[in-house]
């Protein structure tokens, strides 16, 4: 035990450069991002490479990616808050915080994607209840409130302690963050636990609604056979669980290497990695079933979508990003004799799965949209806005990276300021 703690503190020193580099990298990405976002809001969607055939592109892919990350992270946190899986206890707060930040990024992406973002409130003022999208936006409201409440209750004991320990401005901040509820008696803590559990139970259908609903946005579109499948919302949820778990795995490994690691923590990492692998395998199986049915049916547009995915200009997103780096390599790392107990490799596997799911998201959005609704549709009118080829332009890339960097910074600040990594108070049962 002693020996391990020494190596941990050594690795802590070795890793000291990582966080400042991360912050600088985020800031460097954020600057052009802010410029690009300004261009987008002054020029409108003219600044993008989107068209009338592929009206949804990189931003929508990021949107479903982050909404998925959020729902997946929250659902994994319920393993602790609802199902009482002791092993995962240390990461409950991290999971909820991750869910909250991911949701905010996701919502910003879809806000940025609107042709008239200044009218977003129309969804609340004039909702059309036949539209899955309208339902979605209402669910996000509940979900944000729920995440905030859950996070608050999970952190409250530590917020109270911090408020007593610190002085000056931080003291004021933590006092404010407790919302004046600073009772730390056993009965009040027990009551908190009950609420955490209740909110977790309530949150499961909401989180499933949040991302299953996002899947349903596509699943109800009969114009695109590739989307038009009842399996789609389920695929969304499973891949969300994989991506949420994968990012948690990566972060937990980092915290572990930084020096908060114990034998239990390592066990937790191994279990989490297996869990992620399980979700990933389930996701691949569902993908396989989808393909099986599609290939059996041989509906021309369906087949053409597969052809675009597998042999189109971005074939490598499917074969290399999604399958090789996003599935085969991480699964091998998680199950291979030599790497399955190594924190470092497991963390790397988590990162790969997390990034690989983005390939999944891109391939959900773009290939079906590149298909002509009727043969000869593209040639009928010559405009580059009516084209089956779509590649995001510089503005789309910079805005996206900037938004992601902003999210990373927010996430990082939360980790530094809020008691998210601390786990002692969690152990109170």
């Amino acid at each position: 035990m002693n020996q391990t703690s020494i190596t941990y503190s050594e690795s802590h020193r070795k890793l000291a450069w990582l966080e400042p580099t991360f912050v600088v990298a985020c800031l460097v990405t954020l600057l052009p991002g802010v410029w690009a976002i300004a261009v987008r809001f002054t020029e409108g969607l003219q600044a993008t490479a989107l068209g009338s055939m592929v009206p949804w592109g990189l931003w929508v892919a990021f949107y479903i990616y982050y909404i998925g990350l959020s729902a997946g992270s929250f659902l994994i946190s319920t393993l602790v808050t609802v199902f009482g899986v002791k092993r995962f206890e240390p990461m409950a707060r991290l999971a909820v915080w991750q869910a909250l930040v991911a949701l905010l990024i996701g919502i910003f992406f879809i806000f940025m994607d609107l042709g008239h973002p200044e009218r977003f409130w129309h969804v609340f003022r004039y909702p059309q209840w036949n539209s899955v999208l309208a339902w979605e936006i209402q669910i996000y409201n509940f979900y944000i409130v729920l995440l905030l409440a859950e996070l608050y209750l999970l952190m409250r004991p530590d917020l109270v302690v911090l408020g007593q320990k610190k002085s000056g401005l931080p003291r004021l901040f933590y006092h404010f963050a407790t919302l004046g509820y600073s009772d730390l008696s056993t009965s009040s803590l027990l009551r908190d636990r009950k609420w955490i559990k209740a909110l977790g139970i309530l949150g499961i259908p909401i989180a499933v609604g949040v991302h299953g609903g996002t899947g349903a946005i596509f699943a109800v579109v009969k114009a695109h056979p590739y989307w038009y499948s009842p399996l789609f919302p389920i695929v969304f949820i499973v891949s969300a669980l994989a991506s949420g778990g994968a990012l948690l795995l990566f972060l937990q490994v980092y915290f572990c290497l930084k020096g908060h690691c114990s034998v239990e923590d390592k066990q937790m990492l191994v279990s989490l990695a297996r869990l992620v692998a399980g979700f990933l395998i389930l996701d691949l199986s569902l993908l396989f079933i989808e393909f099986l049915v599609g290939f059996y049916g041989e509906v021309p547009e369906h087949m053409a979508t597969y052809a675009t995915i597998a042999r189109g200009p971005f074939w490598w997103v499917f074969w290399i990003v999604q399958l090789l780096l996003g599935a085969v390599v991480p699964l091998s790392l998680i199950f291979h004799q030599k790497t399955k107990n190594s924190c470092l490799w497991l963390g790397f596997a988590g990162l790969l799965v997390f990034l690989g799911i983005f390939g999944v998201r891109l391939n959900i959005i773009i290939p079906p949209l590149t298909q002509e609704p009727l043969p000869g549709y593209i040639g009928a009118y010559h405009s580059w806005r009516i084209s089956s080829f779509y590649f995001p332009n510089l503005i789309e890339w910079l805005t996206s990276l900037g938004t992601v960097a902003l999210g990373c910074l927010l996430f990082y600040i939360g980790l530094k300021v809020l008691p998210i990594e601390t786990k002692e108070a969690e152990g109170g049962t």
């Binding site: 020029e43 409108g44 969607l45 003219q46 993008t48 989107l50 068209g51 009338s52 055939m53 009206p55 949804w56 994607d113 609107l114 042709g115 008239h116 973002p117 009218r119 977003f120 129309h122 969804v123 004039y126 909702p127 059309q128 036949n130 539209s131 899955v132 999208l133 309208a134 936006i137 946005i217 109800v220 579109v221 009969k222 114009a223 695109h224 949209l369 002509e372 609704p373 009727l374 043969p375 000869g376 549709y377 040639g379 009928a380 009118y381 405009s383 580059w384 806005r385 009516i386």
Partner: protein, 271 residues
């Protein structure tokens, strides 16, 4: 004391109604509400009897010569910007030499009886007009999410990205466009319909206050082969090119595109 009151209250309810009756009544209430809702939904799903007109087209493919005059006339009439076209002529070449064939057909919005685009709009910005079945976009309501573009099986919807023709700098730029519910206005940067989804309106602006066409939609009017019969399916009367619409589709063989999706287009292609 409060215990007793509670008991008497319960007893009172039991005595007057009986537990079963109470439950039955509650059940009945829920059932009635549900049934009312269901019947309202079914009612809404039925073809509307209140519809006064149902505008549509019968496009005679034997008469169409692929001159694309409809596309051009539409662009001029509606002053659509680059990348927006309400009535392109879809053209396809297929078969192998020497048995090569071409087929083509003008494709406006079909103003479906069961439009997929209307269903998905989150803000009721696009809707089917009760009085004549024309599917339009309320530009001031539309948030530009483009869900309807992805949902339309016929690719009838286009996004106005805000681009202009080079001629915008000339006097052409000062000609107002009829796209504001009959109001002729200038399309300006950053203002609707820029940033909105646009589509064929059956030249709605050519209707008078009573909903009658003062002249036919541009594509039908300009068609030199008189291929585009435009009219009202309720009384069958053609506004462009003579005959009775219902008689045309009874006498001739016709197809509607992607019939299997159940959208029930109001544009028929006569073979």
């Amino acid at each position: 004391m409060p215990m007793e009151t509670q008991e008497t209250l319960e007893q009172l309810v039991e005595r007057i109604l009986g537990r079963r009756t109470f439950l039955k009544l509650t059940g009945l209430g829920i059932f009635t509400v549900a049934a009312a809702n269901l019947s309202a939904t079914l009612e809404a799903a039925k073809p509307k009897l209140t519809v006064k007109r149902r505008y549509g087209m019968a496009i005679d493919l034997l008469r169409c010569v692929n001159c694309k005059a409809c596309t051009v006339a539409c662009k001029l009439e509606n002053k659509t910007p680059p990348g927006v076209v309400y009535n392109p002529v879809i053209e396809e070449e297929f078969g192998e030499y020497p048995y090569v064939q071409r087929r083509w057909f003008p494709k406006p919005c079909f103003h479906c009886e069961n439009p997929s685009c209307v269903k998905v709009c989150p803000v009721k910005a696009t809707y089917k007009r009760k009085e004549d079945g024309i599917v339009i976009v309320d530009y001031e309501r539309c948030i530009g999410c483009r869900y309807c573009i992805t949902a339309c099986p016929y690719g009838a919807r286009y996004f106005d990205f805000g681009e202009n023709y080079p001629a915008q700098e000339t006097a052409y730029g000062q000609i107002p466009s009829p796209e504001f519910h009959g109001e002729y206005e200038l399309r300006q940067k950053g203002k609707s319909p820029v940033g909105n989804v646009r589509k064929c309106t059956f030249c709605l602006h050519l209707q008078d206050a009573k909903g009658k066409y003062t002249r036919p939609p541009a594509c039908a009017e300009t068609c030199m082969g008189k291929a585009i019969h435009f009219g009202d399916f309720v009384d069958g009367k053609c506004i462009a090119h003579g005959c009775d619409l219902n008689e045309l589709i009874t006498r001739r063989r016709w197809i509607r595109l992607k019939e299997e999706l159940g959208n029930e287009p109001n544009v028929y292609y006569l073979l």
